[in-house]
């Protein structure tokens, strides 16, 4: 019964006029930027965030979240039609989606994409509704000790599960934590790492960090290889009739398995910190190929190869809200920005969020459904327009993006200084990118840093400086142990190799 009451509260919130309009705006913008290679949801949300300052926080979050999951739909459209993944998470879709286009079955691929995305997304929302409040209930019993350990685990997990060197990822998280320190220390009133700049006393702006590290760095990298992919196919897809879209009966039957498996994989991976929709889509594809009786068809336009990764990346995007809304721990970069958005709107993320802001949580969750439904309907008629926009040449696109990045970072505090900070992070981000440091963990550390320091301080005050308190409480011990295991895991291989060599001698 409580669930019904909550749901009706959510429906009331999400069906308000403002919420519906901004949900639509969010998914609409999301579809477009998702389809455009070069600007992802992250940069768009950063640009849009200052624009939402005047809105009700719930409505603002509904819109920003809409951009995020809308981008997954849009990204797959350019993957399927042009073999140009608009966002990284839809790159896998191109493996079978683009061959389908070449076989003249673009309509079907788009239909499968829309349906699989919708199923994945809306089923995962159910999980958010079930799990987030339950996890938050448990976490409400946490004190600062456990909360610190949870955050530490979140950061470590994000590092070890992302691909590439764990050491580098850990350095990036630590760098993010340092960035979180910048500014006036609230406890002692001492400015830290401001280097005498007045503009840094309130800390580095999240938007500057995000747009510099990801937006500018990405564009400079892309400029060097500025060649648009396979634009030739755009003529094949001008006319996609509704009849082309419907699958044959045998194809219909082959779709349910991949969609459900993809949803399962996506939800699981999405709810873990550190592994977002890209990993989910790749895994779903790989598993589907293994499970298939006709693996040789994959890569030549298998319907399963579109359905599974699409269900997975959309499910993962929705499931990522579970740790974000129940614990205040962002699972990936976009979630970190959404958490930052909450903080800027004066809402404190954490386990108390759902009980203290029920209208926001349930409204947001219901809006996910509305948004997914809108995307399902919106997706197909928009394709012609999308194709036109995707083929906007980069020589026009890049200046436009840089313009929005500049204005976006200015508008956070109406301050030119922040624009320069963005530039500095752009340069840093480019260096990171060149040297293969994944900058995503920086943002996680940046968001969690201040909260971790506060919880550490509180813990140590209560325990009178005894670090042993972290080992006294069973939940905290378990969390810390898990972190240690995660850190040591990548060392396992070289270690066993070393020991073998040792004992062989």
């Amino acid at each position: 019964m409580e669930l019904l009451a909550n749901l009706s509260l959510g429906i009331e919130t999400a069906f308000s006029f403002d919420a519906l309009i901004y949900c639509f705006v969010g998914v609409f913008i999301g579809t477009f930027v998702g389809a455009l290679p070069g600007i992802g949801p992250m940069v768009t949300i950063s640009v849009a965030l200052p624009l939402t300052f005047g809105l009700d926080p719930t409505v603002a979050l509904i819109m920003l979240a809409g951009i995020f999951y809308g981008a997954q739909y849009g990204g797959s459209i350019s993957s399927i039609l042009l073999n140009l993944p608009g966002t990284a998470s839809t790159a896998v879709t191109a493996l079978d989606g683009y061959p389908m286009t070449k076989n003249g079955r673009a309509g079907l691929a788009l239909f499968i994409n829309a349906v699989a995305s919708f199923c994945g997304g809306s089923l995962a929302v159910l999980l958010v509704m079930g799990f987030a409040p339950a996890i938050a209930d448990i976490a409400l019993g946490f004190n600062s000790t456990e909360y610190f350990s949870v955050m530490l685990l979140g950061l470590v997990a994000a590092c070890t599960m992302s691909n590439g060197s764990t050491l580098k990822a850990l350095v990036m998280v630590a760098f993010g934590l340092v960035l979180g320190i910048v500014g006036l220390d609230l406890n002692s009133g001492v400015p830290r790492f401001t280097f005498g700049f007045l503009g840094l006393t309130e800390g580095v702006s999240l938007i500057s960090v995000a747009m510099g590290l990801f937006g500018i760095a990405e564009i400079v990298t892309k400029m060097a290889n500025a060649r648009h992919g396979d634009v030739d196919s755009s003529h094949m897809i001008r006319h996609v009739s509704f009849r082309d879209m419907l699958p044959r009966r045998d194809e219909m039957r082959r779709l349910w398995g991949p969609i459900l498996r993809g949803t399962g994989i996506g939800s699981m991976i999405g709810s873990l910190p550190g592994s977002g929709p890209t990993v989910a889509a790749f895994m779903a594809y790989a598993i589907e190929k293994k499970a298939s009786r006709t693996p040789e068809k994959f890569g030549t336009g298998a319907v399963e190869g579109v359905a599974a990764p699409e269900a997975a990346n959309n499910a993962s995007v929705q499931a990522a809200f579970i740790p974000t809304l129940s614990l205040g721990i962002p699972g990936d970069v976009v979630m970190a920005i959404l958490l930052g958005a909450m903080i800027m709107h004066g809402i404190i993320p954490g386990p108390q969020l759902i009980s203290s802001q029920p209208a926001m949580f349930w409204g947001l969750v219901v809006s996910f459904w509305i948004g997914n439904l809108m995307l399902l309907v919106l997706n197909l008629p928009l394709i012609g327009l999308l194709v036109k926009i995707i083929t906007v040449p980069s020589r026009i696109l890049y200046p436009v993006v840089i313009f929005f990045i500049c204005i976006g970072s200015y508008s956070v505090a109406n301050n030119v200084f922040d624009v320069m900070v963005t530039l500095v992070f752009g340069i840093i981000g480019y260096v990171f990118m060149r040297l293969r440091y994944n900058a995503a963990p920086v943002l996680l550390g940046f968001i969690l840093g201040p909260m971790m320091e506060e919880n550490l301080r509180r813990t140590l005050v209560i325990s009178r400086g005894d670090l042993g308190v972290f080992l006294d409480r069973p939940v905290s011990v378990a969390l810390l142990l898990l972190s240690v295991v995660l850190i040591l895991m990548p060392l396992r291989k070289p270690l066993t190799a070393y020991l073998k060599r040792r004992f062989a001698r």
């Binding site: 060197s165 350095v171 400029m223 020589r395 200046p399 313009f403 340069i427």
Partner: protein, 157 residues
Amino acid sequence: MIRNRDRSDVLFALVIVSFGFFLIYSGIELSVGKMSRIGPGFLPLCLGVVISVLGTGILFERQEGREDAPPNLRGLGLVSLAIAAFAALVETVGLFSATAALVLLTALANHERIRPLTLLGTIAGLCVVGYLLFVVALQLPFRPISPELISWFTGAA
């Protein structure tokens, strides 16, 4: 023998280690406090230790291969210039000229050539969008063209 591309990795690992030492130093400067009452320098100190250890680890880690496209220094420089120009101009000379400078420099940074007419069109379009969205709708304190600039022009004419 250290190959060229390994050298930048090694160099950057050294940068990380020294950044860690810098944090340790400034943590101590900021006062670490007691364990029961940690000071503002406590976390920087801890992070400094962590970062310098991790940096040392990276120094000895085998680097994965990476494509050897040369760094896009020209692009980076011109985009930086574009943003810096925007920052310098937007409050002093006005939004329109800042936009023009930004678009021009970014277009120069791009490897794809742009026709002058397309360039002008992009500038004009962004000026209109910027004005409507940010000045009219969101009331950011931009002046499209600064009064000083207008009076300088009319004075000169």
